[in-house]
Structures are given as structure tokens and as C-alpha cells.
């Protein structure tokens, strides 16, 4: 049993089920990120934890107490909203202590809690201002402060960074991570941004169409995605999904992919169990950073395969250079060192880190389990 238990929870609007049997146990101090495209049900799930939406089936328990039907204010949770939802007519101080006031906390205690949190978030100097006089980043801090003052069991964040500009978003991301490391609070965080999910979380639940597609640590999600959806949703640029055929040679399975000129190239798999798929079509999943120039290849990898191919497009991005090539009849992206000298139309040697490659069943779109 976890600190926050989501057991077999479903949500329906009329006859339409939008959330199907979600089952997640969150441990104390965990940072769980719900990530997925819009309409996947992640915000609905968060609102159900908060008590803002009813639970159709299953149950949600916080610290062992089932909270189905319990009013949001009695669940001992705090929520940070996407729009911050600061009360426009109140000062920052009033905004932050409103919840305590409503819960009947005496004034001296409120003042103390306010002072502590204001110091922690470095917003002491803003306490007398109205939200309208604050910048986006300051409002974000106040919204977090309002949640922190309550000292709740669970923090809920609903896309809190999506209204900030790109630079501030990165800063605040670090800030939230620092805060979590310092306070060791339990957080459920909703976002559609897979980089936020990767960087912040201790565990990620990738959701799509009302189903949890995969639940795991960022590394598990990134390295061994459960299915094609997770593979392509997480990571930027997305994982290359290349049609390939399994060929067993010398007793070990290889992926046979066609290069830009339609010639088959063999890449040895690290997973011996794929030999069972001999002669069958699969989808080969390789992350862009696993296809590099030979000098940039991962030295710790036990399985670097050479690949010669012609380059279609190069995109220097400053820190890296992205190279597009045709593989298996589709565009595949490779991530090179920034100063790798490649030019479009030329043929180069590449190094493919097959240790990181995964294979998917083209019919079920699930990852082929390897042991």
C-alpha cells in the first residue's frame, strides 16, 4: 500500500469512459509525473485526486484513508493550477493564507507559516502586492507558496509551467526540483511536456486515450518503452521507428534494414531472445543519440554496429548536429557531435549503439520482451 493509492479508478461522462482502470501506488516523497497528449485523461485523474471531479469506479486513498466523496478541502492536498488561480482582489499575503484562514488556523500561526514559506521562495518583498502587479514567474512562485503554506500530504501540479516563456520555464523547473529535494514532499504533477516529465520525476505514468501506457522510472520509460506510443512520445527528437526484418546469422539475431540506396544492412541485436523472430518483420526503435559518428560512439557500449549510409539533410542545432538519412524507407534522425563534418548528399560511416535498440511487434505495437 502506498502513500497515495489510485486503485482501479475509472471515470465516465454518461456512457463515455474517459479513464480506464488506472492503478498507481505513489510512495511517500515520490514525484510522480502524469504525461500524455491533450485529452489523455491526465488532468481528469489529477482533478479526481483533488476531489474536484467525482470518481466513477474504483477508489483513491491518501495515507490509507479512502477519500472518495470527501470534500477537496478535507483531503489535505494543495493544488497549483495552470493559470495560477490567484485571487485578484487579495494581496499576495492574503492569497497565501486564505486556505489557512478558511481552515480556522489562528492568526499568529498563519503569519509564521507565511513568513517561513515566503522566505523559502524568496517572495518576502512581494507580500503586499496584488497578483496583477506581479510578473509571470512571481505569480508562479506565489501559487506554489499558497500550496506550501498549507503543508499538505500531497501536492498536485496541473501544468504549472505551461504559461511561462521558454527560459523561465527551465528556471522554474529546476526550482521545483530543488524544492522537492529539500522538502521531500509527495507530488503528482501533470504535464504534456515530456522533457519536464523526464527531468522532474522519480516516476512517470505515460497516458494516452485514458489508459496508463507505462508506469516506471524515467530511465525505464526512456530506454525500454512498453509500446510504440511511449517510444515516440518520450524523447525529442522522437525515437526512430524503422521497419526491419530479423535475420539470424551465426546463431545471433540481426536486424536487416535497407539503407538509402535500398541495400540491406545488418545490425546485430544485443538481445539473443529475438532469434525466435527469425525471418519476421519487426519495427526497430533506435533513439537519435544511438546513431552517431564513429568517434562520438558510446565507449561503454558492448555492441556498436557500423553502418554506412547517405545523408539527406543536416541540421546544426549548436550543441548537436542532427542528420537525417533514409533507413528502411523512412527518415531516421541521427544525433552527431556539433563539429562533426557532414554534408547533405554524401555517404558516411555511422556507429549504431544496438545495446540501446528496442524491437516492437508491428501488429500489437508492443515492445518485444527481451531478457
Amino acid at each position: 500500500m502506498g502513500f497515495l493509492d489510485i486503485r482501479n479508478v475509472t471515470k465516465s461522462y454518461g456512457n463515455v469512459e474517459v479513464l480506464h482502470r488506472v492503478d498507481i501506488a505513489v510512495e511517500e516523497g515520490e514525484f510522480l509525473v502524469l504525461v500524455g497528449p491533450s485529452g489523455c485523461g491526465k488532468s481528469t485523474l489529477l482533478n479526481m485526486i483533488a476531489g474536484l471531479e467525482g470518481i466513477t469506479g474504483g477508489e483513491i486513498a491518501i495515507k490509507g484513508h479512502v477519500v472518495n466523496g470527501v470534500h477537496p478541502s478535507r483531503r489535505n492536498i494543495a493544488m497549483v493550477f495552470q493559470s495560477y488561480a490567484l485571487y485578484p482582489n487579495m494581496t499576495v499575503a492574503q492569497n497565501m493564507t486564505f486556505g489557512l484562514e478558511m481552515h480556522g488556523v489562528p492568526k499568529p500561526e498563519r503569519e509564521r507559516a507565511l513568513a517561513d514559506v515566503a522566505k523559502l521562495l524568496q517572495i518576502d518583498h512581494l507580500l503586499d502586492r496584488k497578483p496583477g502587479q506581479l510578473s509571470g514567474g512571481q505569480r508562479q512562485r506565489v501559487a506554489m507558496g499558497r500550496a506550501l503554506v498549507r503543508d499538505p500530504d500531497v501536492f498536485l501540479f496541473d501544468e504549472p509551467l505551461s504559461n511561462l516563456d521558454a527560459k523561465l520555464r527551465v528556471d522554474m523547473r529546476t526550482e521545483i526540483k530543488k524544492l522537492h529535494q529539500k522538502l521531500k514532499t509527495t507530488i503528482v504533477y501533470v504535464t504534456h511536456d515530456q522533457i519536464e516529465a523526464m527531468t522532474l520525476s522519480t516516476r512517470i505514468a505515460v497516458m494516452n486515450k485514458g489508459y496508463v501506457q507505462q508506469l516506471g522510472t524515467p530511465k525505464e520509460i526512456y530506454d525500454t518503452p512498453a509500446n510504440l506510443f511511449v517510444a515516440t512520445f518520450m524523447g525529442s527528437p522522437a525515437m526512430n521507428i524503422i521497419p526491419a526484418r530479423v535475420v539470424v546469422q551465426d546463431g545471433t539475431p540481426h536486424a536487416s534494414v535497407t539503407d538509402a540506396d535500398g541495400r540491406p544492412r545488418l545490425l546485430r541485436f544485443s538481445q539473443g531472445s529475438l532469434a525466435a523472430w527469425d525471418g519476421r518483420d519487426i519495427l526497430l526503435g533506435i533513439r537519435p543519440e544511438a546513431i552517431t559518428d564513429p568517434e562520438g560512439a558510446d565507449r561503454k557500449s558492448s555492441n556498436i554496429q557500423a553502418l554506412t549510409n547517405r545523408v539527406t539533410v543536416t541540421e546544426p542545432a549548436g550543441s548537436d548536429t542532427f542528420v537525417t538519412m533514409a533507413l528502411g524507407g523512412q527518415d531516421a534522425i541521427a544525433r552527431m557531435r556539433a563539429d562533426a563534418s557532414v554534408a547533405a548528399g554524401q555517404t558516411y560511416d555511422f556507429a549504431v549503439n544496438m545495446e540501446k535498440a528496442v524491437a516492437f511487434d508491428p501488429k500489437t505495437e508492443q515492445r518485444i520482451a527481451s531478457d
Partner: protein, 292 residues
């Protein structure tokens, strides 16, 4: 370094500008003319008016017509002046405006933030009440007031005007609150605020502009109403009915100067409301109707 101009409007020459101002001035004079006539004639002796000098300034200035209109003029059969009726109107307008505005605000709050099954229908029906002509409800309303024992009383008039006003005030507040972020209400719920606490602490403090619209609208409508006042006022008739009785009397000399003074007295409160709160009116009307 004055190369950068802030002027985004269409530029025009001095002559055009002068012409426009001249035109505006003419229109303003035209619209102010009736007020001038009323004002000037209310401070003249009757003889000057009947002598044919309606437009001229008074030769003898006098406040007697005002005094007469306020406290001694013959209204119906009693020589009471307009004073008691003015008080009737105030006693009717203030509670009616306050009650209908508060109820409209509550309705708007519920219809936008506490949605329930069929809420759009309820709102539609309330809107419908804005289109019912007064005359249609006279007889049913008389029956209801009679049964409630409120016929011919000021509370009865207050009830009538509240019922008639709720449709409009609900429309204003609903449209205004529709633009109010629901996340704020949810945040307040999580903070532990109840139904009325959210209303008083979160919504009402930002409802200034639309409250002004509702108050002006209700005040002018109720103050200026004649039909309900004449039908249900009984002995407690409002100002409008009294003014009619003063002006339309068919016996005796027509004291035009007193009539003018009385008419100004009757129009004064609405004029005041507009002057004090008028600049919020358009702003609030736009906020309530366009963004919704």
C-alpha cells in the same frame, strides 16, 4: 529625437477638426435645449410663460414654482406637493434595486460556477422574462399581490420590480461571471471556502463594473416606471404617477412653471445616478455582454 510618433489615429487637418467640433457643439446644444427650456421656465412667474416668452431668460427670478411643486401643489385631491410621492419612490427603488441586484449576482454565480443539469434551460427561461411586456402580467400580478396582502403597498411594488428585474440582473451577472476563471473557484474550494464564502470573498470584490450596470439599469427602470406604480401603488403611488396627476389635471389654471419644476424633480435622481456612475456603465456593459 521626436521622430517616433505615438499617433496611430487617422491624421486630419485643422479645418476638418474644427468642423467636427463645431458639429458636435451644435448637436450638444440641440440635445440640451429641452433641459434649458425646463430649467428656465421653472424659475419664472407663470405670467411670463403665458405671455409667450418661453425661450427667454426670466425677467423676475423666483423659486416659488419649485417650492409649490415640492410641498404645496395639488396632486389629485390633496395639496401635498410631490414630497410624499418622492419618498414613496425612494422607499420602493432602493430595496428593489438592492434585492434584485444581489439575487442577480447569486443567480449568475450559480449558473456559471455551480452548474447543474438543465441550468441552461433555467437561464433561458429567466431570459424569457426580459421579453414579457408589462401589460400581460397586470391581472395575474394583481391577484398574487392581493393573495399576499401586499396590494396597494410599497413592499408590493418592491416585489413586482424585483421579480421583473431578476431576468435582467441575472443576464448581466451570468455573462460577467462566465468570463471569471473557474480555476479560482476550484482553488477556493481546495482552500476550504464554502458556497457563500467564495461568493463574498472571491467573486463579489471583482464584480464592481457589472454591479454598476445592474444598479443603473434597475434604478432608471424602476424609478421611471409608471404602469406598475399606477396599477399597484394604491395610496402609495410613486413619483411618476404623482407627476402625471400634477401635470394632467383638467381643472384650474395650468401652472406650467410648477410642472417644469416637478418634472425636473422627478428626473433628478436618475440624472444623479448617471452622473455619478455613468462612466462605469459602458465599461461594465461591454465587460458583461461582449466577452461572455
Amino acid at each position: 529625437m521626436s521622430a517616433v510618433t505615438q499617433d496611430t489615429a487617422v491624421s486630419m487637418g485643422r479645418v476638418t477638426r474644427a468642423l467636427i467640433y463645431l458639429l458636435l457643439l451644435l448637436f450638444a446644444l440641440f440635445y440640451l435645449l429641452p433641459l434649458y427650456v425646463m430649467g428656465v421656465n421653472s424659475v419664472k412667474p407663470l405670467a411670463e410663460i403665458t405671455g409667450g416668452n418661453m425661450m427667454a431668460l426670466p425677467e423676475v427670478w423666483t423659486l416659488d414654482p419649485w417650492r409649490s411643486a415640492w410641498s404645496t401643489a395639488q396632486i389629485g385631491v390633496e395639496p401635498t406637493g410631490l414630497k410624499p410621492y418622492f419618498l414613496n419612490s425612494i422607499l420602493m427603488v432602493v430595496p428593489a434595486v438592492v434585492i434584485s441586484t444581489i439575487m442577480g449576482a447569486l443567480n449568475g454565480y450559480i449558473l456559471t460556477k455551480w452548474r447543474f443539469r438543465g441550468d441552461t434551460w433555467v437561464f433561458g427561461l429567466m431570459l424569457f422574462s426580459c421579453f414579457i411586456p408589462f401589460q400581460i402580467v397586470l391581472i395575474p400580478m394583481a391577484v398574487v399581490l392581493g393573495k399576499l396582502g401586499l396590494a396597494g403597498s410599497v413592499p408590493g411594488l418592491v416585489l413586482v420590480h424585483v421579480v421583473y428585474g431578476i431576468g435582467f440582473t441575472t443576464l448581466y451577472f451570468r455573462n460577467y461571471y462566465a468570463t471569471f476563471p473557474t480555476e479560482l473557484v476550484r482553488a477556493a474550494q481546495i482552500d476550504g471556502a464554502g458556497f457563500f464564502q467564495i461568493f463574498w470573498r472571491i467573486l463579489l470584490p471583482v464584480s464592481g463594473p457589472i454591479a454598476v450596470v445592474s444598479i443603473i439599469w434597475q434604478f432608471t427602470n424602476i424609478w421611471n416606471d409608471f404602469l406598475f406604480g399606477a396599477s399597484f401603488g394604491g395610496t402609495n403611488q410613486p413619483m411618476t404617477v404623482a407627476l402625471n396627476n400634477l401635470v394632467q389635471s383638467s381643472t384650474g389654471v395650468k401652472e406650467y412653471n410648477v410642472h417644469f419644476a416637478g418634472a425636473i424633480l422627478a428626473a433628478l435622481p436618475t440624472l444623479l445616478v448617471y452622473i455619478v456612475a455613468g462612466r462605469y456603465f459602458v465599461r461594465g456593459l461591454m465587460a458583461g455582454s461582449v466577452k461572455g
